[in-house]
């Protein structure tokens, strides 16, 4: 079988779109394709990709998490507070703290959605506001500044790991990509992770097949929270200055990245690699629009929104076409010939 799976096809299509978008802007903006563009996008993607990965896990189960942006902000502030109080803390310990705080928020969301049966859009809408207020209360509206942070943390996002064809690959970006790939492999290869797809694909059938749908949904929310927590730490490292609006809007950006990356909002299909490429796409477009003189700054958001709409409708149309084609092909093909029972 050399036939490409629909998932792989989708990734290829996304990469193609990415190249096309970049090529388009290269014709519009002078001196566009350079190392600076890559650096700018890669440092931003390092954060968004993690959140989009978490969001993808949740969307796969037919849910949504609107609180991730607030979790990012809270964890960014909390880890900042920890590290300024105890500058000698081991980096791994700090990362674990970020994961744990995020997972705690995810656990809260997941319990409410999976076990109390409150729809995720309501639960996490409320959680988004509550976690944000918790940050305001916790921080006493004080900001964390770069001076409060140890040097290793501030250096982390800009540490150059290796250079490829004149392009620098920095630590935060590489770490994020490695994590996305790990999650991708886990989704693909770990049997319990396949339950995420099953639950989102056909919840009733999952129940009938004996899958614990509640636990699966809970696990998705916890993992999403943990990933958002880690993104919070990356956010702290990148920006250094953390105020109460940290991470605002990231929940929507992560949904946009996931949806652009081909994750079905109805659950059950999509990949985190797709979400990563989606995140790159969103950032590329955002970054490029800033430099594109044709579009006034007031229209940037609208252009982004329009692109999301077109991507999703193109996807829906394409998938409908493919399904119809497949059905037709199957009708044309002879019915599967039954073999004699071997036992």
């Amino acid at each position: 079988m050399t036939r490409l799976s629909p998932g792989a096809l989708r990734i290829l299509a996304l990469l193609l779109v990415l190249v096309l978008v970049a090529a388009f802007f290269a014709t519009q903006i002078d001196n566009y394709l350079n190392a600076r563009l890559f650096n700018r996008i890669s440092s931003s993607v390092a954060i968004v990709a993690l959140i989009a990965t978490g969001q993808t896990l949740v969307i796969l189960t037919r849910n949504i998490d609107l609180s991730l942006g607030s979790v990012v902000g809270f964890v960014a502030y909390a880890t900042g507070a920890i590290v300024s109080a105890a500058p000698e803390i081991h980096p791994v310990l700090l990362a674990l703290a970020a994961l744990a705080i995020g997972a705690g928020f995810g656990l809260l969301n997941g319990l409410l959605v999976a076990y109390a049966g409150i729809p995720s859009i309501i639960t996490t809408l409320a959680a988004m506001a509550i976690y944000r207020s918790a940050l305001v209360e916790f921080s006493g509206a004080q900001s964390i500044t770069t001076e409060d942070l140890p040097q290793w943390l501030v250096d982390f996002p800009n540490t150059q790991l290796f250079t490829l064809a004149g392009v620098q690959f920095r630590a935060a970006f590489v770490a994020a990509v490695v994590i996305v790939i790990l999650v991708h492999l886990a989704l693909l290869r770990l049997r319990p992770a396949r339950a995420l797809y099953a639950v989102g694909s056909n919840p009733e059938a999952a129940e009938m097949a004996g899958i614990d749908a509640r636990r699966t949904v809970l696990a998705a929310f916890v993992a999403a929270g943990a990933l958002a927590g880690l993104a919070g730490l990356f956010f702290l490292a990148r920006f250094g200055n953390i105020t109460v609006v940290a991470g605002l809007g990231f929940e929507l950006k992560s949904i946009a990245a996931a949806v652009l990356g081909g994750v079905s909002i109805n659950g059950g299909s999509g990949s985190v690699i797709g979400a990563l490429i989606g995140a790159v796409l969103v950032d590329l477009i955002e970054n490029s629009l800033v430099r594109w003189e044709l579009v006034s700054e007031f229209w940037r958001e609208a252009v982004l929104g329009f692109l999301i709409l077109s991507a999703v409708s193109a996807d829906a149309l394409l998938m409908r076409r493919l399904t119809r084609l497949r059905i037709r092909r199957e009708k044309a093909a002879p019915a599967p010939t039954p073999k004699e029972a071997t036992s």
């Binding site: 770990l190 049997r191 396949r194 989102g200 999952a206 097949a209 019915a335 599967p336």
Partner: protein, 500 residues
């Protein structure tokens, strides 16, 4: 005598005031194909749900290997080797065949080994004698293939009881034959197979024993050799035709209101031809899967027909939307009150005027509340709707009164032809008689009615003529004088076909 692998002992189940099962007893032995037959609503689904742990019995016990057990959900039933497959297969469209089969397997380790999975899947697929690529994505499978996947999933976990609930209802004859072959093969391996079907010929092909249930009660269990089709139908229908159901004389006039010839919808139904006269009640009888509702949906323009002709008052018409159907003078009272019929949270009066909002609006498009109340009050008296006041949400009414509100909504459109889909499903006997009277009043006043019903006494009580369908085909039209429950069941189960 061997111990039954699964047994129901004196099991009853009630939902609120509805008694779905009373004193049901059933014993399943390894290696048998046990057919369960009964009319729609006889309690088969409830019985399956008790056997698979979806419902808990209100009283009575479920026994596995002679020991009383409590099945905690489908998962609990599966661990005891009890699985079910349904008419609509439960597959995961986004996963491939092998993953679908082993999605809930617990003995394959944490890491998914594609090769191992594929190999094990191929073995299971071979065991049921199907040719199916384990790498195919389930969304592209035919219904029959999806069912094969479900059977393989059941086999992956050491199945001891396999319940097949109308597995062949949507399959072609060839596919159905394949499925029966699989079921027989599994029984030969020692699995107890419960086989539920409306196709009597299948039952005689496959079953070792047959249990007839009716009105939630066990009627008989016999070896297949002692059963005849007619005897089985008589037992399924069984009950005395009550006094609630009285046929009055026909009010049919010579004027043909609706004339349908060779109506068809691709892959759904075909060759439906009938006339409805002013003043007539035409009933459509048939079992689940007969596609009667699909015909009604075509007539009402929801799923327009793809072939055949429709004449309305002598003019050929095409009905492409409900709006067009309503403009002609058709009304469709859906069987699914919740989904297609009523806006449950809205008040009674809002529901009554929902289809005719224009009538209660002022010139400026504002709602005339007094007018709406007056209209509702009119129907309340005419239809005897029992309600506290017109502002009560419809969802709070009983089933019978909801049905009347829905009827009021459509009567307000002043239709010439009322299509009534299962008008008395789930409502009590008293309300049934009232609904029947309302239908009779409607046709006496010069309307016509097309009534779809799975309730045979109702069909006999209402229909001036009875059109019987089976699996998307018209089996015949029986005039009231010649109709009996047995005659209709013979047509509906395909035992015979009337010269149409």
């Amino acid at each position: 005598m061997a111990v039954p692998v699964l047994a129901l002992r004196d099991v009853s189940k009630s939902f609120g005031a509805t008694q779905a099962l009373s004193g049901m007893t059933l014993e399943l032995f390894p290696g048998e194909v046990h057919a369960v037959v009964g009319e729609n609503g006889a309690g088969k689904s409830t019985m399956i749900k008790i056997m698979t742990g979806v419902h808990e019995p209100t009283s009575g016990t479920v026994e596995v290997d002679g020991q009383p057990v409590t099945l905690s959900g489908p998962r609990g039933a599966r661990t005891r080797g009890i699985s079910a497959i349904y008419q609509e297969p439960m597959v995961f469209p986004d996963l491939d065949v092998a993953e679908n089969i082993f999605i809930s397997a617990t003995d394959l380790g944490l890491v998914q080994r594609k090769g191992l999975l594929r190999e094990k899947a191929s073995q299971l697929i071979a065991r049921i004698g199907m040719g199916l690529d384990p790498d195919r994505v389930a969304s592209g499978l035919t219904l029959a293939e999806q069912q094969a996947v479900e059977i393989a999933r059941a086999l992956s976990q050491d199945v001891r009881v396999l319940i097949m609930d109308e597995p062949t209802a949507s399959l072609s004859a060839h596919e159905a034959g394949e499925l029966r072959r699989i079921a027989k093969g599994l029984a030969a391996e020692g699995v107890a197979v419960v086989y539920i079907s409306h196709r009597l010929e299948e039952i005689f092909d496959i079953a070792h024993r047959v249990t007839v249930i009716r009105d939630g009660r066990h009627i008989s269990t016999r070896p297949i050799a002692e059963v005849t089709p007619d005897g089985m139908i008589a037992e399924m229908v069984g009950r005395e035709v009550g006094n609630y159901f009285r046929k009055d004389e026909s009010h049919a006039t010579p004027e043909v209101l609706l004339s349908v010839r060779g109506l068809s919808q691709e892959d759904v139904y075909e060759g439906v031809s009938f006339d409805i006269h002013r003043g007539e009640v035409l009933c459509m009888a048939g079992l689940i899967g007969a596609r009667r509702t699909d015909v009604a949906l075509s007539l009402f323009g929801i799923h327009p027909a793809t072939g055949g002709t429709i004449h309305w008052k002598g003019q050929e018409v095409r009905i492409a939307s409900p709006r067009e159907a309503m403009a002609l003078g058709l009304a469709y009272v859906s069987e699914d009150r919740r989904k297609l019929g009523l806006a449950m949270p809205l008040s009674i009066r809002s529901n009554v005027t929902l289809a005719t909002l224009g009538k209660v609006l002022t010139r400026w498009g504002l709602l005339r509340e007094g007018r709406e109340r007056a209209v509702t009050q009119g129907y309340r008296e005419r239809l005897n709707i029992r309600m506290a006041d017109a502002d009560t949400p419809v969802g709070k009414l009983s089933g019978g009164n909801q049905q009347k509100v829905m009827l009021a909504k459509w009567l307000e459109t002043n239709p010439a032809l009322l299509i009534f889909d299962e008008p008395t499903r789930g409502i009590d006997v008293g309300a049934k008689a009232e609904v029947h009277d309302l239908i009779r009043q409607f046709v006496r006043a010069g309307g016509a009615a097309l009534v779809i019903s799975s309730d045979l006494p109702e069909v006999l009580a209402l229909g001036d003529r009875i059109l019987v369908m089976r699996e998307g085909r018209q089996m015949g039209i029986v005039p009231h004088e010649d109709a009996s429950q047995e005659a209709i069941m013979r047509l509906a189960t395909g035992q015979e076909r009337a010269a149409a």
